[in-house]
Symmetry: C2
Subunit: 334 residues, 2 copies
């Protein structure tokens, strides 16, 4: 932990996305050839045609790492976000929402090129979400957008695996990692999605081994990384590569592994699971809040479970109540 | 009723608006100088500055008359909407959502001029909504946008009072009324908002006396029309001017008056009132579904109460479940 002299708790690099949420039945998912519970990248044309087939939607700001930053701000942490939107209406929506949530967001809007990214999210009756992302302007993040002073000032630099998809963004990621490491800061990383892991397995493993201090994954992603069916062996492998690993397991809670210990944390009970969108993003938010404060791993995990439970109890991937207050009520934070 | 030979149940003229919903406390309403529970028109500059002060939002298609059409489609009625958006992202959202809800919407998008209308809706902890509307492209509705054949084919032409605010739209409204009347169809009208009534009192009274077959108002609007504190005297006055009048009274239900009778209908009980946005719009939807089917006034009112109860039990002004199914379950429709 190197947070004591940092002015900022966390800065995240990620895709700046507006979600378009609509209800859909399993039939629709099948007919559209989608794989439930995963994220698929789509081009502009497919985004048009899928949108035309979808039911009425609700637009809410999203993006995995952006959701995590909003969650951390809700806990009272000082958070910033680096990602790219266009100077269009959805770009204005994204920028407004993340700033209104208390997250610093200063990246200049693209004045030309593709539109602000959107993710067509289909929520099925089982509360699962199936995501179809048109990256648009988000793919245009470059190293020029990385404010090195901002990275140096943050205790943790948080990266989402999704950002490896647009080839142009890799320079931005590499710069951020190198600046953070040179400044003696921590790097946290989330694997994002099993198919995303499949697309970038070797790069992800190389990054984790060399530079990642804290890794987030869900069970499928962790297994995908090592092409194994055994979560236990994936976790054992990860422990040798990275100081702290937190693997989420949905209703089964999470497993946190460091060199010296493995801790299992139960999931926070939820009266009704309405929409699982953002569960992993908010788990990371809670965990990171504990991590930058130097709390023990079990408490980090419980903060993650608390935030995830809030976000799956309603539609949308950002908290609707103060997570700082929830954490205080639960005795997890002062 | 002249619905038997109509190919369409209803066509509405109204403002095509995307709502931006955010939670706000009473303090915020006071500091911004807003009047809780009402709609204020704002210009582009004020829309920018108020948006900048608001918390994170959710974008959902809205517009009072458009919400009513979506409600009618959810009941299984054949509905069309006439209103103006620009060819921008929010315009595409509006068009997608209303079509995906089953409402016919064929008005060409404006290629120049102001952006698609948006309404900044502040939802306070008491579930009240305070609306701030930037009319933008919606004010550009003209008589060229009125498809006369569509009006002639619809049993009812439904008009919202809000459309009297943009001066250019008046020709479109006049044309629609005259085509509907010449075709022997019914005209329904909603007063929209007490301040809107204040801005257009004389025109509204003239319209009601000469051409309106079915009038919707809430208690404040009905009283505002005659500058009276007595709902009873307002209803008595309205009975002399118009064949059927339906006045909504929030939790007190509604009063329906015709030349020959006054019927009181109770409000449908709701477990928790979450957001009253759209209550009046959906009451009108349910009532109109009964009206075009020639049902007795009490049943029309009960259909209105049913639809209003659904929409106030969640955030947003459009139904989240099939109103046809709700009505069938309640024994109100076959």
């Amino acid at each position: 932990m190197t947070s004591l002299d940092a002015e900022l708790d966390v800065v995240a690099l990620g895709s700046a996305i507006v979600d378009v949420l609509a209800h859909a039945d399993d039939d629709f998912i099948d007919k559209q050839g989608l794989v439930k519970g995963t994220m698929a990248l789509i081009d502009a044309e497919r985004a048009e045609s899928l949108y035309a087939e979808m039911g009425p939607g609700v637009e809410v700001s999203g993006g995995a790492a952006a959701n995590t930053m909003v969650g951390m701000a809700s806990f009272g942490a000082a958070a910033a976000f680096v990602g790219k939107v266009r100077d269009d209406q959805l770009g204005a929506v994204f920028a407004h929402d993340i700033r209104a949530a208390g997250v610093r967001f200063d990246v200049p809007f693209a004045a030309t090129g593709p539109a602000t990214a959107r993710c067509l999210v289909l929520v099925t009756p089982d509360a699962q979400r199936t995501m179809n992302t048109y990256l648009g302007a988000a793919a245009g993040l470059t190293s020029a957008d990385v404010d090195e002073a901002l990275i140096r000032r943050a205790a943790v630099t948080f990266l989402e695996g999704y950002l490896w998809d647009p080839p142009e963004a890799i320079d931005a990621l590499r710069l951020a990692v190198s600046v953070a490491k040179d400044a003696g800061r921590s790097v946290a990383f989330t694997l994002s999605d099993p198919f995303c892991v499949d697309r970038h397995r070797d790069e992800f493993i190389a990054l984790i081994e060399s530079n990642v201090d804290l890794l987030f994954a869900n069970e499928e992603e962790a297994k995908s990384l090592f092409k194994t069916d055994s979560l236990e062996s994936a976790v054992e492998e990860l422990r040798t590569m990275c100081p702290v690993v937190a693997v989420t397991r949905g209703p089964l809670g999470s497993v946190i592994a460091s060199k010296s210990a493995v801790v299992e944390v139960v999931a926070e009970p939820v009266a009704e699971v309405v929409d699982t969108t953002g569960a992993g993003d908010l788990y990371a938010a809670g965990f990171l809040v504990g991590f930058v404060r130097g709390l023990e791993l079990e408490r980090c995990g419980r903060l993650g479970s608390l935030a995830a439970a809030e976000v799956i109890s309603h539609v949308g991937a950002r908290p609707q109540v103060s997570l700082a207050r929830l954490a205080a009520d639960a005795g997890l934070l002062p």
